[in-house]
Symmetry: C2
Subunit: 354 residues, 2 copies
């Protein structure tokens, strides 16, 4: 049975949502867990679950919560005590080196030492990244690991890379993101011949910032060599129309794009709900329309995707949203489970080093 | 009567939508027009309007078109012949210098020579910018002009600057964008004491790319000197929640953010419409919900905002969307009209040079 290391102390709702979400995932996907963090706090959450026999979750609908039965005795979990926690505001490099007994460093260690196949953390993205990088090491040939994010569209999901690991990038890094993204799209998303685009402003070659202009000819060359299928510049508004399967960008632009998507969707849904409340007829129609809107919410809710994969490290590291709920954490573990046995890292190594 | 110069040949639906939209605006807002472009083509559009006595527009609803009565004899317009057109793909600097008789260069000239108070173009953004910069000159002290975009939110509109004029920026440029954005927010949007934020990834100081990290302390210093009210980093998801009134960013990140907003909204509305079509009950509820959704569409539709203002040049230059419809063009002219008599440029000069 595969085993996943969980940073039980990372995230705004840790340890409750993290522990609950992980055991829910363990039960649902048949994996074992190594829960890493303050033993007494983890045990307290588990004790409550054992007593009640269920956990509560809205399952991503933002609506009423339902009970999910949990039989703790059937779940294969261990607890590894780690006394320290790295907070959201802490300087990353320093805290990783100093806090050797922090939950994130210790849970990465569980993978490095071979006890677990993957690690999931909803703590500080920077800390999770740095801990994974130092704890697991880079895949041979990879300059910098990057975050791959799966974006929902009307058709196949699109992979955006880098979602925020590297705020400043070189053209060479972006070409590697393309190679890693293609491996991910092919072997995890299931696209046979993924098309690669570069996030830019304006469609034509020559449009964009200095980084895009420098990267474009390199990607074009890789296309001519048959290494990737490059389709050119992708504008922000084209992210969701399946013009390509992999979008490469620096982590700053990528993270801005992801967060703007989140913000726009959230504002729009709020606007719709307030528009329906404008009069009594609207209220009635709004009530009838609710189940339809809820289904949309479920389709676009980041909680359904749960986690982003850090590509380029020797191991599987899933970075979950800092605001992860029980449901989001369950899905973050699922994101890790999906990658198990897919041997994505040797595919990345092949792509990078050929 | 104020007079607006119109680049009649710029935009995907030029000259028809451009000419129709401008005369509609002239009638509605009581301004005169100088229509610049190929005389025969402009006259052909005007002749059709004169014959019919109306124009057709869906008024931003994406629904059925309605007739807008136009009395051409009551509109004060002139036509200035310009034989050349600058296409979307052309190299900007070169074409501006070579095509002195292009519609965009000639319409900027109408402002430079004092015949018009403002210029509106839906042609290539780069060409419109360059023509405005070379034709009108920079406001004393301004390093680089930038595009100010008004973003709809649940409360007051937020000004994002730069929306795409400068793909690569320095920290000094961003501090000037802040000064220009504050002048715009105060004197055009009507916010008494505008709060300034910088677009970044992560909320805490120290998060972001190299440019943000370099700009942050400069904005902080301006805050301490009482020149602006700086509230720190703004994440992409916070653009619409009125955490600040002015968001500064480089033109690459800004344009990505704007286009992603457009793409997300469009995908979401498509998803909603297809979800309602999933069964017969849905179709009926969808039909009833349609007027409500249409009102939302109108609130967030870029066509309603029409144009973005190029700040930092000595004159008023409005850059309209390349896909501008008749309705969008009418509103782009309105965007210019709103700025007339507000003396925004002397306010910018004051802010920059104090």
């Amino acid at each position: 049975m595969a085993r996943i290391a969980i940073d039980a102390m990372g995230g705004d709702y840790a340890p409750r949502a993290i522990v609950e979400g992980s055991i829910w995932a363990a039960q649902e996907y048949g994996v074992g867990l190594e829960l890493v963090g303050r033993e007494d706090e983890i045990k307290a959450v588990l004790e409550k679950v054992r007593k009640r026999g269920f956990i509560l979750s809205d399952c991503g609908t933002k609506g009423h919560k339902r009970k999910i039965k949990i039989d703790l005795d059937k779940i294969d979990y261990t607890i590894t005590h780690a006394s320290e926690v790295i907070g959201m505001g802490e300087a990353v490099g320093q805290s990783i080196r100093k806090k050797k007994d922090s939950s994130i460093v210790a849970s990465v260690r569980a993978v490095a030492e071979g006890r677990c196949e993957a690690v999931v953390s909803a703590g500080s993205t920077g800390a999770a990244m740095a801990a994974s990088l130092f704890g697991l090491g880079r895949i041979h040939g990879v300059t910098r690991p990057a975050i791959a994010v799966t974006i929902p569209t009307m058709k196949d999901p699109v992979v955006l890379i880098d979602g925020g690991a590297n705020s400043d990038c070189t053209a060479e890094m972006l070409t590697q993101f393309a190679e890693m993204g293609v491996a991910y799209s092919k072997h995890i998303v299931g696209i046979e011949n993924p098309k690669v685009g570069i996030l830019s402003i304006g469609e034509e070659e020559g449009k964009g910032n200095a980084l895009v202009k420098e990267t474009y000819p390199l990607l074009k060359e890789m296309h001519e060599q048959g290494r990737i299928t490059f389709v050119g510049n992708i504008e922000g508004k084209e992210l969701f129309v399946n013009k390509c399967d992999v979008v490469v960008c620096d982590g700053f632009a990528g993270n801005v794009a992801l967060k703007v998507t989140e913000g726009t969707a959230s504002m729009l849904l709020k606007m719709i709900s307030s528009e329906f409340k404008s009069d009594i007829v609207g209220c009635i129609i709004g009530l009838m329309a609710k189940p339809f809107l809820r289904r949309i919410l479920k389709k676009i809710n980041w909680e359904v995707f749960g986690g982003m994969l850090l590509l380029g490290v020797k191991g599987i590291s899933v970075i979950a949203h800092g605001r992860s709920s029980t449901y989001a954490m369950k899905n973050a573990v699922r994101a890790a489970v999906r990658v198990l046995n897919k041997d994505i890292n040797s595919k990345i190594a092949e792509n990078i080093n050929r």
